[in-house]
């Protein structure tokens, strides 16, 4: 599997996708920097909430779709999957590696967001010590929340060769999050709202679905992940090429 991984990495190296990794962290940092922090409220928490609204609500789900479609692009564009799948590698490892790459890129983005947040914190003189536990739970949680989205996007990206189609699907599911995340009843159950909800710091003052217990979040994430991944994975294993 390591071989497959390295070959995938090589394919991505020359592509214009790398600059995309910086966009959301940069924007999030800007947003956090420009935000107004009233004296007595917790600034780390406020900035995390802001970032959750920009990065977690929109960018994370949308970028998941972009990267998933991207790792499948070369095969679709270069005349199909025949060449790759005729090599002595299992379809399973191909799928898993591509999936891992998407998650890996997302993890890098989370780290960059973290770096940006820390930079803003130091610049603006947020109180020390840095609440690592809150930040880690927030960034890691929202990263985990992307697992089901990435699984679904991988599934449709291997199925459809027209790049726009998985993107359309992704957007159709992501945009409603803007409304749904605010809803107390439905927010916790909507997979595309999970990255934003998971990113919100636990004790923050907020509205609607935002005070959701951790357990239900993970239940929804795990459940949708299992379904989407199983569907996409088994489709790929069986797909006629």
């Amino acid at each position: 599997m390591l071989g497959v991984f390295r070959s995938e990495l090589l394919k991505l190296r020359k592509s214009p996708i790398w600059w995309l990794i910086f966009v959301s962290p940069a924007l999030s940092t800007l947003v956090a920097y420009a935000e107004f922090y009233p004296e007595d409220l917790l600034p780390w928490h406020i900035s995390l909430s802001m970032i959750a609204m920009v990065h977690g609500l929109l960018f994370l789900p949308l970028l998941t779709g972009v990267f998933a479609a991207f790792v499948c692009r070369f095969e679709h564009a270069g005349g199909g999957w025949k060449q790759l799948l005729a090599l002595p590698v299992s379809r399973s490892s191909v799928f898993l590696v591509k999936f891992a790459m998407v998650m890996g890129i997302l993890l890098v983005i989370q780290l960059l967001v973290c770096a940006g947040l820390l930079a803003v914190g130091f610049f603006k003189g947020f109180p020390m010590p840095v609440p690592w536990d809150v930040i880690t739970r927030s960034l890691l949680g929202s990263w985990i929340a992307c697992l089901p989205l990435a699984a679904l996007q991988m599934g449709v990206s291997v199925a459809w060769s027209n790049f726009a189609a998985p993107m359309a699907l992704n957007v159709i599911f992501t945009l409603p999050s803007i409304l749904i995340a605010n809803s107390e009843k439905y927010g916790p159950y909507y997979p595309w709202a999970q990255p934003a909800l998971a990113m919100l710091p636990r004790e923050a003052e907020s509205f609607g679905a935002f005070n959701v217990p951790l357990e239900s979040l993970f239940f929804v994430i795990a459940g949708s992940f299992v379904i989407f991944f199983a569907a996409g994975y088994s489709y790929f294993l069986r797909k006629p090429v």
């Binding site: 027209n162 726009a164 009843k185």
Partner: protein
């Protein structure tokens, strides 16, 4: 039939049985459906909030969801349309025909606009239906609904031109789509931006510029980008 007419007719034929028509319908239907759910769930709170102008409140809510849908929708449809050509490099066939490149490029934009106009129309109809269903009264502000459904498209012309230019000239659709997504996100957070930023324009907000000026600006920049894109398309080699 003029050159453009022939190409346009051919372009519409090429879109037969493709999902672009589905998207053109799905966009407005989705927006209306979501707003329906929104209003039904929070009926009391929202009707109290908009007590003075129920229709106005509805129209505004539809706009806030409809404009981002328009922004991303136009990028996706432009990309899909160009994608069908790029798949087998059909440009080398189409551009070897006795037709000007101008006509070919304009045909694509025209086809996209047809689809977007269908979406705007469905949005307008849907808004009316929703308002009536919610019991907002028969005093339907038709003028306001029409301007809220169609004018954002005019103000968004810079993005229509930009996305068509990018999708037609690049084989890799990842770039135009990503730019489209970024544009949509920018658009969502654009209310704090100042009037010179085109991402703000589709919302037609009152501000230093009147909505009328915003529409004019949108048409002007859209025309400019159309010219730039077409010029590039005319000169470029087809590989």
């Amino acid at each position: 039939m003029t050159g453009f007419g022939r190409v346009f007719s051919s372009d519409l034929l090429k879109l037969r049985r493709t999902f672009v028509w589905g998207l053109a319908v799905l966009g407005p239907v989705g927006v209306i459906a979501l707003q329906a759910v929104n209003f039904m769930l929070r009926y009391d709170w929202l009707t109290k909030l908009y007590a003075e102008d129920l229709w106005g409140g509805l129209i505004d809510n539809v706009k806030w969801l409809g404009v981002p849908a328009l922004m991303i929708g136009l990028a996706i449809v432009a990309s899909m349309m160009a994608g069908y050509e790029h798949q087998t490099n059909a440009w080398k066939q189409t551009l070897a025909l006795p037709i000007s490149r101008t006509a070919v490029y304009t045909g694509k934009i025209a086809a996209l606009l047809v689809l977007l106009l269908i979406s705007c129309t469905l949005l307008a109809i849907g808004t009316v239906l929703l308002g009536v269903l919610l019991g907002f009264g028969a005093d339907v502000p038709v003028g306001k609904i029409l301007s809220s459904s169609y004018l954002p498209l005019l103000a968004a012309m810079p993005f229509v031109s930009l996305q068509v230019w990018l999708s037609v000239t690049m084989k890799n659709q990842a770039v135009p789509l990503t730019i489209g997504i970024l544009g949509t996100v920018f658009n969502l957070y654009s209310s704090s931006l100042n009037e010179w930023f085109p991402w703000r324009w589709p919302y037609l907000l009152e501000g230093a510029w009147s909505p009328f000026m915003t529409v004019v600006a949108g048409l002007a920049v859209g025309a400019l980008l159309y010219g730039v894109g077409m010029n590039h398309f005319r000169v470029k080699d087809v590989n």
